[in-house]
């Protein structure tokens, strides 16, 4: 039966099946090969993510996922003393929480491909515009997230991936290699535009490919229609299903 690839993260994962979203694009690429399971939780930080682990990834599962992306940090990096301080998790704890998540997944299945993704960069002007569009004059003048703070979390995410020998995607750095990344990749200074979604998709596909989890190499879950003899269809199904 079809293997599962789980996308675990915050709102950037939860929204990944929107129009042009990176999750939907993965589902299309792995069509008939693997199920892409969205486990994105808007507003969640790594501290809250820990509460979900045993239910999302039961240790006694007979069919654990073959791969998972872990994509947190945008909420952990919300600043203290600002509107979203409720979400803040200190960067050292963020790193340790990520480590706990990875340990749990590896305990669930040592063979699981675990890919860490850093939070994206923050366009502070974009966040301010967004806050004004929602709250008008009541919007706080000081942004709830800064790019400098996001960098700290991104660096610890990459450092952990190196320590643990995991694949990783440094989205914080990658996006900023392109001029005009602020509007090109981010719709409100934080969430993804179609181009931002395309970048995440391409990076995930690249890492999966390098880790031998390429859709092209995976078998169809049932015979391709061209292999089915119209007069003796049972033959094709016996071959694959018995």
């Amino acid at each position: 039966m079809r293997p599962q690839i789980v996308l675990f993260g915050d709102s950037i994962t939860e929204q990944s099946f929107g129009l042009g979203g990176w999750g939907a694009a993965l589902a299309d690429t792995y069509s008939r090969k693997a199920d892409i399971v969205n486990r994105g939780y808007d507003g969640y930080n790594t501290r809250w993510a820990l509460f979900l682990l045993h239910q999302l990834f039961p240790l006694d599962s007979t069919r654990p996922p073959v791969a998972a992306t872990i994509f947190f940090g945008a909420n952990d990096a919300a600043l203290l003393g600002r509107t979203l301080e409720r979400l803040h998790v200190p960067v050292e704890e963020y790193k340790e929480n990520l480590r706990k998540i990875v340990h749990h997944l590896k305990e669930c299945s040592p063979a699981m491909l675990v890919v860490l993704i850093t939070p994206p960069p923050i366009d502070e002007a974009g966040r301010k515009e967004y806050a004004r569009s929602v709250y008008g004059e009541k919007a706080m003048e000081l942004p709830e997230r800064t790019n400098a703070e996001a960098e700290l979390y991104a660096k610890q995410c990459i450092a952990l991936a190196k320590e643990m020998g995991l694949c990783s995607i440094d989205l914080w750095s990658k996006m900023q290699e392109t001029d005009g990344w602020q509007k090109k990749f981010l719709s409100d200074g934080l969430h993804l535009t179609p181009e931002g979604n395309a970048m995440v998709y391409q990076e995930v596909i690249r890492v999966f490919y390098e880790a031998w989890l390429s859709a092209g190499e995976m078998p169809y879950d049932f015979p391709h229609h061209s292999e089915i003899d119209g007069k003796n269809p049972e033959k094709a199904f016996q071959r694959q299903c018995l």
Copy 2:
């Protein structure tokens, strides 16, 4: 844990997670509420679909899907004596195969919401253009599918839904209510444009809504972030998880 909604069908279902696809749009709508599982099989007719039933919908499943769309007929209606006659299934058999599929799903779970979707109408000129673009001069002059033939299958699909008291979507009729349906809804005379995808999405959502399977009424699978106390997060998780 999150309930499943299965989309079972042919290539129109398989492609439903492409850009603007109706499956991806459902996944986005039911985000945090239900998993949309794509079980579309390019080129499959109802005769071949029967071979998959026990693996896709095991009778001993402890968590069967809460709903399923059954969307076949476009291949069954391929004409005898034309290029795709290998896919042809007589219309009486198509109806009986659909009945067997529904019986299996209801045996799997009597409470499962089963929605029958008719094949879309066929734009024969569009099919011919498509064949020429792929096969050039070698393309057969006679189309492999006709709209008149598709109508027979659509009518039997709707008749079966009435006999069995099931929800149904008469896509064949619905699309043809709009002038210019041929190019507006169909990209190659058979598969869906973004507008065609939007129509299927809206029809499925409408039927689900009428059957009390509205995303708005379904619970989140874990607490919404606004319900989590930053200082005592465990409270919110105890309430929902115990």
